[in-house]
């Protein structure tokens, strides 16, 4: 008989006890400071793993495309939908002499559009949507030329539930679904496409990418950093005791990935509600009249089967965060731009409103979250500057910070393993 598995805290009372290999002591913070470590992260992690670059809604028709300027990959990526409705990714360059292929006005600004062919402005060579050369200009001038060797350089690309992933490692043999593993199996089939109302934000912050991921990997900071925004939580935090609102319902680690499940009662009026919230009957967590979805959740959501369940946040290795809530789902992608800077992209996918009133209430939710994210970001640049001072070499993580411990250990171990493999290859060669 199959029995449903429910995520439970170890009897010892500490989540960390479920993962003996994780360690319990201080953790090196060199991975957020050292420029050498950043170069290794780039080489061994970002250029070798599946990376989320956008959803298929950005490619509505045959010939739809968008470009991604991703410094950490040392390339520009062209993502498009071909004649057969398949999604492909390419290095955004013309194989004639290497001109950057798709851009408007400024080669370093991302662009999007629709086109039935790829056309290089330098000498007018044309390619089809699979990257094959259709026609060079001035065929009378060609010398020993083999058209089949002149293709727009491809990048591995796969779609999982509408999420487009790329992998720069041409030798990669693993599918995205396999890479994302059990967590992905648990949320497979969620009706992502239904949440078609999108709000997108981005910012470049002067801190390492992992430091902002850490900020979304615990809710322990809630009553302190968000004292002004989440009044009810702060009142309880003074007790210095377990906090039913901010202690996670559950934490789970699976291989390179991690998740936590979090409290969230239906959005409603509280003594702390603002006049604008009362006017619009909505707050940061959505409309107050919100009803629970009638459809059963996929088994991987609400893994503790809690009545007070509100959010699940999955952090997929290396830099992709997928958060489920009653409003829909939100993605965060953290793109390093240097050892001490990164771009964060926050995309919210909500229920499409059916009335103007609903749309206006949603505007409050989105505006509120914008400000909460800025509050989350507020300590980070000062923090990075102090980490750079070198005055401390390690940081401390408690049991509610288990995901942060896991993120840094995973990144550090991954780099160390890849490096030693590389060294062994050199020795045997």
């Amino acid at each position: 008989m199959s029995q449903e598995r429910i995520l439970m805290k170890p009897e010892s009372g500490k989540w960390t006890d479920a993962y003996p290999h994780l360690g319990r002591g201080p953790i090196s913070l060199d991975d957020c400071v050292s420029p050498e470590f950043y170069e290794k992260e780039k080489q061994y992690i970002f250029k070798k793993n599946w990376l989320y670059v956008g959803r298929t809604e950005r490619l509505p028709t045959i010939g739809s495309y968008f470009t991604r300027e991703l410094e950490i990959l040392d390339t520009s990526v062209l993502v498009l939908r071909d004649q057969d409705n398949n999604v492909h990714a390419f290095h955004n360059m013309c194989p004639h002499r290497g001109n950057k292929l798709v851009w408007k006005d400024d080669p370093f600004v991302e662009t999007e559009g629709t086109s039935s062919r790829l056309y290089c402005r330098f000498h007018g060579w044309r390619y089809d949507l699979n990257g094959n050369l259709i026609k060079p200009s001035r065929q009378d001038l060609l010398l020993d030329f083999e058209p089949e060797k002149c293709k727009v350089p491809p990048i591995q690309c796969e779609v999982w539930n509408g999420f487009i992933f790329i992998n720069l490692d041409a030798d990669n043999k693993q599918t995205v679904a396999d890479f994302l593993g059990d967590f992905a199996r648990g949320i497979d089939g969620f009706p992502f496409a239904k949440y078609s109302q999108t709000y997108k934000f981005k910012a470049e912050l002067k801190c390492n990418w992992k430091i902002f991921m850490d900020g979304f990997a615990e809710s322990y900071h809630g009553p302190y950093l968000h004292a002004g925004t989440f009044g009810a939580l702060s009142a309880l935090a003074k007790l210095d005791a377990p906090n039913p609102y901010t202690d996670a319902l559950g934490y789970e680690l699976k291989g390179l990935h991690r998740m936590f499940s979090f409290y969230g009662e239906p959005s409603k009026e509280t003594p702390y509600s603002l006049p604008i919230e009362k006017l619009l009957q909505a707050g940061a967590a959505g409309p107050w009249n919100k009803r629970v979805e009638p459809v059963p959740l996929p088994p991987g959501l609400n893994p503790t089967r809690s009545e007070t369940y509100g959010f699940d946040s999955f952090q997929f290795f290396p830099n992709f965060v997928l958060i489920f809530s009653a409003s829909g789902f939100t993605t965060h992608a953290h793109w390093p731009t240097g050892p001490h800077s990164h771009i964060v992209e926050v995309d919210m996918y909500y229920h499409p409103p059916s009335t103007h009133q609903e749309r206006i209430a949603q505007e409050l939710t989105v505006s509120y979250l914008n400000d909460v994210i800025l509050e989350d970001a507020s300590p980070l640049e000062g923090m990075q500057a102090m980490l750079n001072s070198g005055a401390i070499k390690e940081f401390h993580a408690n049991d509610e910070e288990i995901l942060i411990r896991h993120l840094h250990k995973t990144v550090q171990d991954y780099v160390a393993n890849a490096e030693s493999e590389q060294n062994n290859e050199h020795k045997t060669a």
């Binding site: 999108t198 709000y199 997108k200 934000f201 981005k202 910012a203 912050l205 002004g228 925004t229 603002l274 006049p275 604008i276 006017l279 619009l280 926050v346 409103p353 059916s354 009335t355 103007h356 009133q357 609903e358 749309r359 206006i360 505007e363 409050l364 989105v366 505006s367 509120y368 914008n370 400000d371 994210i373 800025l374 509050e375 970001a377 507020s378 300590p379 640049e381």
Partner: protein
């Protein structure tokens, strides 16, 4: 007496003519531009806008909500809706932070793309 329609502005629906003076400055269609307007305004400027519009907001929502969401709003009603969007942006500065920017956020803002 003159007919109201002769002197009426087309910028806002008839019932909201007293708010027409807010339109040029605060009826901002683009979300990112609304946020920029907030961080580049003084609290006095935002308080004046908030105090003028907030008491009329419930009535404005009711008016806008009569229109089918699937169809484009008439231009005057769209202005009214954009005023409400600005009210939302500004209300967090007025009611929550009591300053234009999020507390302790220095000069960081998010760029809103859509």
């Amino acid at each position: 007496m003159q007919k109201a329609s002769k002197t009426m502005s087309t910028k806002l629906p008839e019932a909201f003519q007293d708010l027409v003076y807010l339109v040029d400055e605060w009826a901002i269609a683009d979300g990112h531009q609304r946020y920029l307007k907030r961080v580049n305004s003084t609290m006095d400027e935002m308080k004046a806008f908030y105090d003028a519009l907030f008491p009329r907001a419930a009535e404005a929502i009711e008016h806008i909500n009569q229109f089918d969401y699937q169809l484009a709003l008439p231009a005057d009603t769209e202005n009214l809706r954009n005023l409400l969007y600005s009210l939302i942006t500004v209300s967090l500065a007025v009611e929550l932070w009591r300053q234009p920017r999020v507390r302790n956020s220095a000069n960081i803002i998010l760029t809103r793309l859509c």
